[in-house]
Symmetry: C2
Subunit: 388 residues, 2 copies
């Protein structure tokens, strides 16, 4: 659910990419949402790389996590300090090989990364939506992505790939559009948010809404709820790591390597790291978007929404092949949740491969370079391609 | 580290108790702290129950957790809605049997429950200390408790008993006063805070300090940082539970048992529960005390403070017998941390019993009724008594 960038980028990058925009639902009744509300117009930011073949059967749809964006790989400009968030996986010769596949990554509605969200202008008021933005669901995000695929003339997806909240979208894709999705890679994800995951999200939301600058969501012309959003991010960041990874990375090391200061402030390195992550986040993310997207994740419950409480039933129309990956130290969406998913898939005789990767880096592990994961995805896509 | 009260209280209570106060260090140089600062005067609130025998060899010192107090068992008044925080363990015929033992429970310095803390009046300014209160350590807390024991004329403690932050104090007692402590019961505790534990505490502190009412700690004559403190408590509360306990207790149950509202606010029961816990907490606890005590817990590091980095060395002067208990679902102070402690004790040929209790309730398990724990403590105290 977060972006982890302090690692070496290996292999070639796809080079330059361009963020593109697709706007739809300009006219009545607009884009109808699961809540019953409607949104008009709707813009999605997206990026594409690789080459679409003549049969249009080499499409990979990559779905990003909570605070991600469409910039999955490559650079906007030569001088960019870093590439897209999954450049380690998407590129020539990489796990998702752009020499073979046409990769599309769409930003989600509700985000602040180019798509319509609470920071967008509400045409009815000519002001930013703020909390007048309607509640959105994972299903809404996916139906908007479907509109994008229609617009691009793509009626078949070789594979949907997503980690964390991106994995939720991938699952939703398979449930809603079974005839369109050949296969799916679900990384460090779940079919529904646990009470623990909801609890962390709710506390993070409370910290934003407790910031007086939040002002009921109307802050776009004044000071922003930076402190609340930074704290929300710090809470999230803890859940993306693990006891083990924090022990290895920080332990009890002091920031200044000398004795205790006996003062408040960032004394331990882990404190300093979290504050850095919080402060970095407020530069790039909108607090209201954080509220809406976390709520969509909390609402996510495939069994309830599509199976009347039964996950096996929710999966009964699915036709995709699956690769499901969990990580031993991921305590946000632990392995048992992936196993539940796999069990429900197998009940429907779906072709599913499951792997629990032994990794100490917690939930964030899916964003870190891992040759084993790259090889697994490469092999899975190859067989999906030959069988499609 | 929290108080869990929604359970049946079994067995008889000790009945009426009275909070008492002991004040010392009124004169120069006051009470010298580990930080180098001094505090004057120092008051400790404490309570006692059971009867001290003529040999004065039946003393049990109970040490409370982060936000606890001296009110370990019994009632202040007949109409009190609930007894002290460990009434399930302390009383006639209970695990710590007041028919046999004289039980003392002392509040910690830095607290707001009757002892000197940041909400106390600074004699130099005649205002509340606020952030002028000096930083305190677990060692300071224990040295103040030692002064109380001296005052009470108790030069030998049959057993020090503590869970969580209380367990840290108990360990500190054994390290600092090896000739005084016959035995110790350490529940759900650790010899040092991990990066994960520090991280959660730091985010909780940040949420208090981000509340504009906090006002650099000067809020005692105006509005209090209630929202920040409530969020801090919510963060803490999540760490006291477990994925499993939250799933069993709340799952994805909605507060109003009907459909999703598609609105922000406490929709899921777990959200409502956390908000309730946060709001209940602000009625009884002081935000600055929370800052100081969590910092003392983060500073706690027996190996560094007493063993030049070696836990075995830190424990080398210890003479007590130990009962160490951890809980399978405690992810704040996981079992491996208790095992490290036990290993260092064994290296010093100390008499130590270790038990990992299979419990789903997370860190809070040590405060819940558990006949196995009661029996274990009863048996441990009995043999400690016969061997003393």
């Amino acid at each position: 659910m977060s972006e982890y960038t302090d690692h070496d980028i290996t292999g070639a990058s796809i080079g330059m990419v361009e963020k593109q925009f697709f706007t739809f639902a300009e006219n009545d009744p607009g884009f109808l949402l699961d809540s019953g509300a409607s949104l008009s117009p709707v813009t999605l930011a997206y990026e594409a790389c690789g080459t679409l073949n003549s049969q249009k059967d080499n499409v990979i749809l990559v779905l990003h996590a909570l605070t991600g964006d469409s910039h999955v790989a490559g650079y906007y400009q030569a001088q960019d300090p870093k590439p897209g968030w999954w450049d380690i996986m998407v590129g020539p010769g990489k796990g998702i090989d752009t020499d073979h596949y046409f990769v599309v990554c769409s930003n989600i509605i509700g985000s602040c990364m180019g798509s319509t969200g609470p920071a967008s202008i509400n045409p009815e008021t000519t002001q930013a939506y703020g909390m007048d933005f309607p509640m959105i669901t994972m299903g809404d995000m996916v139906r908007a992505q479907k509109a994008l695929m229609d617009h691009l003339g793509l009626d078949r997806v070789l594979c949907v790939v997503g980690g964390s909240v991106g994995g939720m979208q991938a699952l939703e894709w398979c449930v809603r559009y079974p005839d369109m999705v050949g296969s799916a890679v679900i990384l460090a994800s779940t079919t529904r948010h646990s009470a623990l995951a909801i609890a962390f999200n709710e506390v993070a939301r409370q910290s934003i809404m407790a910031d007086p600058n939040w002002n009921q969501g109307h802050y776009y012309t004044g000071a922003k709820p930076d402190m609340g959003l930074a704290i929300a991010r710090m809470i999230g960041h803890i859940t993306y790591l693990s006891d083990e990874s924090m022990r290895m990375k920080f332990g009890r090391k002091l920031q200044n390597k000398s004795a205790l200061s006996f003062e408040f402030g960032a004394e331990f390195q882990v404190e300093s790291y979290l504050q850095y992550q919080g402060n970095k986040f407020i530069e790039r993310f909108d607090a209201n978007s954080f509220l809406y997207i976390t709520k969509a994740a909390d609402y996510f419950d495939l069994a309830k929404d599509h199976g009347n409480g039964s996950l096996a039933k929710a999966f009964s129309a699915m036709k995709s092949r699956f690769l499901v990956v969990s990580y031993t130290s991921d305590w946000l969406y632990p392995t048992y949740q992936s196993k539940e998913m796999v069990k429900a898939m197998k009940k429907n005789d779906l072709d599913v491969s499951f792997c629990e990767i032994d990794a100490q880096w917690g939930h964030d592990a899916f964003l870190l370079p891992n040759p084993r994961l790259s090889d697994m995805i490469r092999g899975f896509l190859r067989s999906a391609r030959y069988e499609s």
